[in-house]
Symmetry: D2
Subunit: 312 residues, 4 copies
């Protein structure tokens, strides 16, 4: 993550500002407000603003459930109850806004979460920065043989070197052609006085998908947790998962009680199917059950046995 | 608006709290934070929380449009430009949360705006308060003869008195029957030791639609303005319009520049159809045009002439 | 459910129409298209239109997952896989539209599902029908002592009779006062030539919450299943659950394979928390574990033991 | 647009299927169902499914406005009224589903319309086709000098030739490197038996933004018209506008009356600000007004004068 002097001083200015407010505050999140956390080779995430804290979730729940909630004494207990029973609306009462910089192919996965607000840097108006994602050697994985969506072993030796060289070469050359077509470099200087320069909205089409873009992204707490449960999951592509992992830590600073409940009931939980529950009950009753007798597919059986910590 | 001593001291406690924040603040909105503004006979609106200010709209727009926006020098100028050209996403970057108390029939119109988050007081869990809306004499309008959705003249004399008496009687008796069925009054005291009391989720069905309910309601700035443009409009029912009018003043405190642009380009503006623009051009060219020659319907012609300040 | 002769002939006309289409069709749903299914004493649900079938879900999934899906041979197998792994977007590719008639207090719960499209009968424009929901004796439940949101035993004897009488009396009288205030009956006849009649948008406020309303309601298959999983659940209020149960049968006619997967992986499934999975693993390993040792709350422990079919 | 023999026969099979339905049908849209309409050099749009017709809009409106709508005799008249007065919910009662193939940079603009359902071809699972967009000479525009978002004159001579050559070269080489990294060509044949091949989800990052992707895209009629009003507009980028223009013709086939109202009240209409209306009124009253006296900015004044057909 390379910030210009201008960006650094802008962040410093924002971080040094302070005002008095009557609003609910999240002190641990205030500590890191505006501060960019590096992700991948040139990316970052930073929290720009937020609304509400654990108390705001409780406050909204108590309006809904009125005196009925008085029996649940602690705020943490009520938050656990809400998450456990899918009472999602109180979590919609809080918002968080991020500034994120990430490769375009990551942005394309990210935007599929439609319940967020987005303002992306526009390559119609502005020239893209000369920054692209190049994986580390440890991330240069082969296509998985068993999982059509996943990664297998890490590439070795010549093949790894060759791939890295191609990725760098393509990105570099595409960018230099971008400048040539624009007839302008990223500092805004004309390259050739006799040329007009292709329109920005056209020149961008030659950039590669690992070029970095950036956006402001705002989401409510309920949908943020849904995003995290999908993107901080082991099935998510590494390049988006690293963003989600940083943001999970930000959730912890913002909403300690909600974070604990989220880890307990969502991230750490398992959804067991009707047949799966039947299997568990029969196993507990001492029955010695095989996959064939279970009525489950091979794959489902394997997943269930793994979650139960049994050999398959 | 009748607040209990408990509610008053809760509001006082919230208003006297203060914290230091690095977030953007809206000082004029802070002044009235948590404070209930009376609406109708027992309703209110109060701002519970907010995120962002005029500067946050500008900040999001400058991310999108990058260096291209540098030419627009002032923040107010940029906000005007955004609203004028329907660039709505920067306005989605701000949020506001209200606590509203209103009659159920008003809540039913309000909830049709689906792009908001809601936590309503639940009559399954809790007993509804004994409060219902009774219009003032000035609001006791007859059905309009010409507009199927609107109000005509105010009722007079005996008819007005009779209507008022019926409204009061129905609400009062329904509520006392509600207590009878619950076998409990609003203070939670049992009425008859030998009775069980009907479930709350059933007993509520006998309440009238002017019974007051309340909710937390959170919305982004773009959708908030859309709500206001429909509900602060003269075609909206009076009983929801008075809420929108109070909230319009809250928008002014929150976002002075956005408020000005909203009044100029949305509230005060007029959408003229293709035929309407043709009529205006021909009138300006000196042509003496009649409705028949315009190709417009009688109603459209009348509405256009009114907006142009001409006799019809 | 009382249909007028006019309504009956309108439905007959729609059902007898037939056209040729190249679109995907769901033959078992076509059989009951437009046909009202009675719910409660005067309500109904009927399917008005639909888009897509099981094949359309598969088609959308195969676009996303391309050649990778070829290994999953059967459509039903792919649908199971999608539901099991929360790949929800292919289910958003189908839509269904209902015409529903239900009491207002049911409509108020229903509308909280915001991811649907709604056109409700407007009491600003039109006079409400004289129809209200009166529970059967079997549904006249007392407030639950242990569950703040639920129903307990059915009321008996005098208390039941008294409650029923109050419900009927309130609804009847409110409606007759509604006509008096409107100075018009539901057939549109003026009652007193010397009166003007209160505006409809005002007169409605005296109606009770068990008055029937109706709407067109359209939703995509993913959100429809989410609605059903919450509203066909045993925790849902009886008066909305009976609608969901009828609609569940309609889902079965529309999408047989999706219905089976939904029952297996959603309705019949159980979400087990991180601690819960730990308990199951220890029980399977032969450990004799008590609630105190589990780290779970009393309530969570009881719910887990019930789902495992063990005494608590 | 190059379809494989397999694709052609699949489309033929779908087009030759036919079923009997009781649902509303749109005969002119049925004619072209499944048929791909070419857009740009390799893209297309085709309608895959739809729900509802003009009559369905009217049907939903009549439920809402009840007897109040009986005065508006014709369906077309009611549709005009609804669009003119922003009664948008009846238009949400219809849906249309497209299969679209377009360059990735176009897909990135398109996806910003979040109120649609999307299933995109996944480059994590499958290998992208070797197809990329190369503009025609007539579209090779320079950056506009006056509009930061737009295109100016078309590039000429050597500069045009050079740009075209660069675009082609970048796309071709990026794709051949993509195959090299995958160690597989688009037919699925391994290139070098001694290599493993980079994971698909990584290899794609070197592709250029003009590579074609495809998706299923489903939207309701209200949001579809909103999409068209923005993307068929002269300010939209040419490469997305050509898609919107084809889809506008599909709207005309689907919903003739709604299409006419849309062209009259949205596409052909003009939103005039409060100050703008004041100017029009003063001009009509014979006042000779200048920009300075109007209180409008130079740009707003120019836009208003242009829409009024007056010299500026």
């Amino acid at each position: 993550m390379d910030l210009t002097a201008e960006q650094k001083s802008e962040i410093e200015a924002l971080r040094s500002q302070s005002a008095t407010t009557r609003r609910a505050c999240a002190p641990h999140l205030e500590e890191i407000l505006y501060e960019p956390f590096p992700v991948l080779d040139h990316g970052f995430v930073r929290v720009i603003d937020y609304m509400g804290d654990d108390g705001a979730v409780v406050q909204a729940a108590r309006v809904s459930y009125g005196k009925g909630t008085k029996k649940v004494q602690s705020d943490a207990g009520l938050i656990n109850y809400l998450l456990r029973h899918r009472h999602t609306t109180p979590f919609e009462m809080c918002e968080i806004k991020f500034h994120v910089k990430m490769p375009i192919f990551v942005a394309r996965q990210w935007i599929r979460h439609r319940t967020a607000n987005v303002n992306e840097y526009s390559a119609r108006y502005s020239i893209m920065d000369k920054e692209f994602y190049i994986p580390t050697s440890a991330q240069l994985a082969a296509q998985s043989e068993i999982n059509h969506q996943g990664r297998g072993d890490v590439l070795q030796g010549d093949e790894a070197a060759e791939v890295l060289a191609l990725l760098k070469e393509d990105a570099e050359r595409s960018y230099s052609h971008y400048e040539l077509m624009l007839n302008e470099n990223s500092s805004g200087n004309k390259l050739d006085e006799n040329k007009q320069g292709l329109a920005r909205e056209l020149a961008r089409m030659s950039l590669t998908l690992n070029t970095y873009t950036q956006w402001y992204w705002k989401i409510d707490l309920h949908n943020f947790m849904h995003f995290l449960s999908l993107r901080a999951d082991s099935h998510a592509q590494y390049e988006i998962r690293v963003y989600a992992e940083v943001m999970l830590e930000m959730l912890k600073r913002w909403m300690p009680a909600t974070y604990d409940a989220f880890m307990q009931y969502r991230v750490g939980g398992t959804h067991v199917s009707a047949k799966g529950m039947d299997v568990v009950r029969r196993l507990l009753a001492g029955e010695n059950l095989s996959q064939e007798e279970s009525g489950m597919s091979v794959r489902e059986w394997r997943e269930l046995m793994e979650s139960l910590g049994r050999d398959t």
